[in-house]
């Protein structure tokens, strides 16, 4: 270690192994063991005529939780890889961008759950006689639930890297890989981790849903917390159901505390501003890990010699000779892009043709109009949820945001609330509806809101917290109170945040409607008139033309909403209410 002058806040790294290193090693080995242990369960034989029995004794919960968690992380790894790949391509190549961006935009509007029937059958055919097929379908559902947002986020941070940083990399002749690992990945790290955390939180909903599904008139269950909950409710075992909820909360909080918070605290150094942040993210785990020598040791003793050896083997030419030949590179990229583009176009076209073939002859105008009418009903529900949640949570969120001490713990709580897969608890709420004779047409609004309202809440909290102190002081000096205060300061200041929250909530609400408009409590099945219930119905019976039609209509609704409402609101917020 070289000398560092004392006034600098450079952490002095320890050069010896300590107890924390032992703990880290232990944790790593137990992680490896559990991956293997839970992973083994994914490869067992599977027969789709026999419904998997879920052991509802609480002692089995850790195993089921492990299976669910493993599924989440596998899906997340794929999402991360895919997000970085597509985001990178879109940022680097103009041609790729013209394909990727609109594709991502449409794909993120497609209700994932409607696809389950197609993907489950597809993956089961891919792995005949193995549980792997169903596992893959579940993982795929989680993947499609989180990846688009992450890809967009990565693309956005790639293109907002300051020009001078990119130019510096160019003048020093960094290769694309060196540029990626020295400049582009670090510059995007903070937003990538933040987006990952949010997407991972959204993933719980899909994992819980995809573990216990009925498609093509078959009940398929995967061992996991979601199916455990479903089994417990089927049996009316309230204690087991409660345990499942507790386990879920523990899983979510553990992921937050052990993975995301430390990552966020670590990512603070990747922020692009050169000023020290006033309230840096903190994490006790991160503080502990900083004391560990094992990472430094690993870097010095394993990674560095390895990269040295690799670089000696791969490129024994002097650097001065490796002048970038731009024109050659461009040609290679063009050809590659063309091949990939043609392939994607072919896939999309053949998919469309296949869909049209299925639809041909089975559709009538009446049917299409009926589905659109159902979509309209669900739209009303989504709108009602957004308005109600806004009316209820805006005052509360602002109040919380104005009290830093409350906000500090309320905001992570709201985030956990948003992560919790409320669809696990729908049957219980539906039971209450049955007893209270509440029509599902109204009740489903509550079910939809249960999962999505939190996005509005924590964005409003964030907005209220972001109001600069001088604005607050000014409003106090001029004696603004009540409606005047809300009208002149609070509402405009939180508006951009509200738009983000409401847009996410509404997007999630469409997906949630598929599980919220049709729910079962014991033997009673309650159903609302709406597109969500319709999709759930046709998925269960495996009516392919209707699945295609209903999903297409729902996607269309979402795309139109985005284009004509949310984009406009975003642009308006950006133009009028930006606080800088």
């Amino acid at each position: 270690m070289k000398s560092t002058s004392p006034q600098l806040s450079v952490p002095t790294e320890q050069r010896v192994f300590g107890w924390i290193d032992a703990a880290v090693m232990l944790a790593l080995f137990s992680l490896l063991w559990s991956t293997l242990h839970f992973g083994k369960g994914m490869l067992v034989h599977f027969d789709d005529t026999v419904v998997l029995q879920i052991d509802s004794s609480p002692s089995q919960i850790p195993y089921y939780a492990g299976r669910t968690l493993l599924r989440m992380w596998i899906a997340f790894s794929f999402s991360l890889f895919f997000a970085i790949l597509t985001g990178y391509l879109a940022a680097k190549s103009k041609t790729a961008r013209t394909f990727i961006l609109p594709a991502l935009d449409v794909l993120q509007s497609v209700p994932v759950l409607g696809f389950l029937s197609a993907t489950v059958t597809g993956f089961m055919a891919l792995f005949p006689g193995s549980l792997m097929g169903v596992e893959c379908a579940a993982i795929f559902a989680i993947f499609t639930g989180q990846v688009w947002n992450m890809a967009f986020g990565f693309y956005h941070s790639m293109v907002t890297i300051p020009t001078d940083m990119q130019e510096a990399a160019s003048t020093y002749g960094l290769s694309p890989w060196q540029r990626f690992k020295t400049v582009e990945l670090p510059a995007s790290a903070h937003s990538l981790i933040w987006n990952s955390m949010m997407s991972f939180g959204g993933g719980w909903f899909f994992v819980a849903q995809s573990e216990a599904i009925s498609v093509m008139n078959k009940d398929i269950k995967l061992p996991g917390l979601g199916s455990y909950m479903a089994a417990a409710i089927e049996k009316g075992d309230n204690t087991a159901a409660l345990w499942a909820v507790v386990a879920m909360v523990v899983l979510i909080m553990a992921s937050d505390q052990l993975v995301w918070r430390p990552l966020l605290a670590w990512a603070d150094k990747f922020k692009i501003e050169l000023t020290e942040s006033a309230t840096p993210a903190t994490s006790w785990v991160y503080n502990l890990l900083r004391g560990a020598y094992v990472f430094t040791w690993f870097d010095e003793k394993v990674v560095q010699p390895l990269t040295d050896a690799l670089s000696k083997v791969s490129l024994p030419v002097p650097a001065k000779a490796t002048v970038l030949r731009k024109s050659h590179q461009r040609l290679i990229w063009r050809v590659l892009g063309l091949v990939v583009g043609l392939w994607v176009a072919f896939e999309v076209l053949s998919g469309l043709l296949a869909a049209l073939q299925v639809l041909h002859g089975t559709l009538s105008l009446d049917l299409v109009l009926h589905v659109i009418w159902l979509g309209f009903l669900t739209l009303l529900r989504v709108a009602a949820m957004t308005v109600l949640a806004t009316l209820i949570w805006t005052p509360i969120g602002v109040w919380i945001g104005f009290q830093p001490s409350v906000a500090r713990f309320a905001q992570p709580l709201a985030q956990i609330g948003a992560s919790f897969p409320v669809n696990m608890t729908f049957p219980i709420v539906v039971g209450f509806f049955v007893m209270a004779h509440i029509s599902m047409n109204w009740g489903s609004i509550l079910l939809i809101a249960m999962g999505t309202q939190w996005y509005i809440l924590f964005n409003v909290i964030a907005g209220a917290m972001a109001i600069p102190n001088d604005l607050k002081e000014a409003s106090r000096v001029y004696g603004l109170r009540d409606w005047n205060l809300w009208k002149t300061m609070i509402l405009p200041a939180i508006f951009p945040f509200w738009v983000t929250g409401a847009c996410t909530a509404a997007g999630g609400a469409w997906n949630a409607s598929i599980v919220a408009e049709l729910a079962t409590w014991g033997d009673t099945t309650l159903k609302a008139d709406g597109l969500g219930a319709y999709i759930a119905d046709v998925t269960k019976t495996g009516d392919t033309p209707m699945i295609i039609l209903s999903i297409a209509v729902m996607s269309l609704f979402v795309v139109l909403m985005n284009k004509f409402l949310w984009r406009k609101l975003y642009a308006f917020a950006e133009l009028r209410f930006r606080l800088d």
Partner: protein, 441 residues
């Protein structure tokens, strides 16, 4: 000529032109027909106001951007991609905040095939050389601006480039830090021991250029083209207060002033037409807020002794280039006259200063009304109640091909608002004539 005196070009631009598309989609010519050679061992400064295209020259020279026509050469060969033998020190430092000082400097060697030990040694040497000895493990955000730029310079020097380029490298620093760093860099360059032989710098600071460079090229804007080329034989270290130094500075001042504020020959009056330079030809307007024009007027009025444009620049604490812009704006409006290096209030200017708020606005409005450029909008507004901003911008673009039409438009709206002649509704993007309010009536 003795062989060692033959100039060896390290980098050159041959007939380089460059156009960009503005945000509004208009083609904007930034550089026109630039011929420039950086010779082995020289310290060449390109001097120009902001927006003159001097940074674009640097980017073409290093291969960061490709010229629209003409070509960039390095060591006598045409450049394809970035020049591997040049490095750049950026105005904004362009350090990577997630890397320590050491790691940032090592980025300069990343593309080079050197062993870890050699690399560490080179990084150490560069860090010591530039006086960052105790800061190896610090992160950029822990350093002051001056220290950050030292890291930027160390990173640029670590690979011992044939050509070091400075892109306004000192303008983000405070005066003392900048002066200190300039001196250190000059002595590094003069010692010739560290492989640093040729430096190419762009700056808007005249004193900085005269202090450092042994050849100075002045760029004139819209579109960027080379003006005065000046050898600077003053011995180092240079005393900024010496008469020789001051003489060079004033030569450059003069060249910029006469280029920007030419003494026009008197026009032949035409019967029934007021004499106005604004009427006689289409002329762009400097992007200056009205408040600064008003400020200049009251300073000139308050200090009758103040007439030299350099003294005015000192007095108002603005860069020379900015001062020229403000003076030019006032001159276009016929509020001041600029014989040689002087700035004097015209009769109209005196009347303007003596008037009250309404009177000033009336004079301003009359003067703006005389400008040919404004007739683009005024004529349209005469026919229609409202005019689309995009249409106006398009007309400006065709009338003034070397100006950024969006910026011209914004300045016009700002002046027009003060004059009460026009205003824009930013929601509909429509330009309209505001109703006369009682105050103005």
């Amino acid at each position: 000529m003795k062989p060692q005196e033959i100039a060896h070009p390290v980098a050159e631009l041959n007939a380089v032109s460059k156009s960009f598309k503005t945000a509004g989609g208009h083609e904007l010519k930034v550089l026109e027909n630039i011929d420039l050679v950086v010779n082995q061992g020289e310290l060449l400064a390109v001097l120009g106001q902001s927006g003159s295209g001097k940074s674009t020259i640097l980017r073409c020279l290093t291969g960061l951007i490709e010229p629209s026509s003409g070509r960039a050469m390095a060591d006598g060969k045409a450049l394809d991609g970035v020049n591997p033998n040049a490095s750049v020190v950026f105005q904004t430092f362009a350090l990577y905040p997630w890397l320590t000082v050491e790691q940032n400097v090592a980025v300069g060697l990343m593309a080079h095939k050197v062993s870890r030990a050699d690399r560490d040694a080179a990084v150490d040497k560069a860090i010591e050389l530039i006086g960052l000895g105790n800061y190896h493990a610090a992160y950029p955000r822990e350093l002051s601006g001056g220290m950050r730029q030292r890291v930027g310079i160390a990173r640029a020097l670590v690979s011992q480039p044939k050509l070091l380029c400075l892109d306004e490298a000192f303008s983000a620093l405070d005066v003392l830090t900048a002066e200190n760093l300039r001196q250190e860099l000059i002595s590094l360059w003069r010692s010739k021991e560290n492989g640093l032989s040729s430096i190419f710098m762009v700056t808007h600071n005249i004193t900085e250029a005269v202090e450092m460079a042994n050849r100075i090229v002045v760029v004139f804007p819209r579109p960027g083209r080379l003006g005065l080329v000046l050898d600077n034989p003053l011995p180092y270290p240079r005393d900024t207060n010496s008469p020789e130094f001051q003489r060079l500075v004033s030569i450059i001042h003069e060249s910029i002033t006469t280029m920007t504020l030419p003494d026009l020959p008197a026009e032949v009056p035409v019967a029934g037409q007021p004499i106005s330079r604004g009427r006689s030809r289409m002329e762009s307007i400097p992007f200056v807020p009205v408040g600064q024009i008003l400020g200049l007027m009251s300073i000139l009025n308050d200090s009758p002794d103040l007439s030299n444009i350099y003294d005015i620049s000192d007095e108002i604490g603005k860069e020379f280039g900015d001062t020229i812009s403000i003076v030019k704006a006032a001159e276009i409006l016929e509020l001041v006259d600029t014989p040689k290096q002087d700035v004097r209030l015209t009769e109209l200017g005196k009347k303007f200063v003596a008037s009250d708020r309404v009177g000033r606005r009336t004079i301003f409005s009359e003067q703006v009304f005389k400008l040919r450029l404004f007739h683009i909008i005024i004529a349209l507004l005469h026919e229609n109640e409202e005019v689309e901003a995009d249409r106006v911008i398009k007309d400006i673009a065709s009338a003034l091909p070397y100006d950024n039409p969006e910026r011209v438009f914004q300045t016009m709206i700002a002046w027009g608002r003060y004059a009460g002649l026009m205003d824009i509704n930013n929601k509909t993007r429509m330009v309209f004539v505001p109703e006369e309010d009682e105050e103005a009536a």
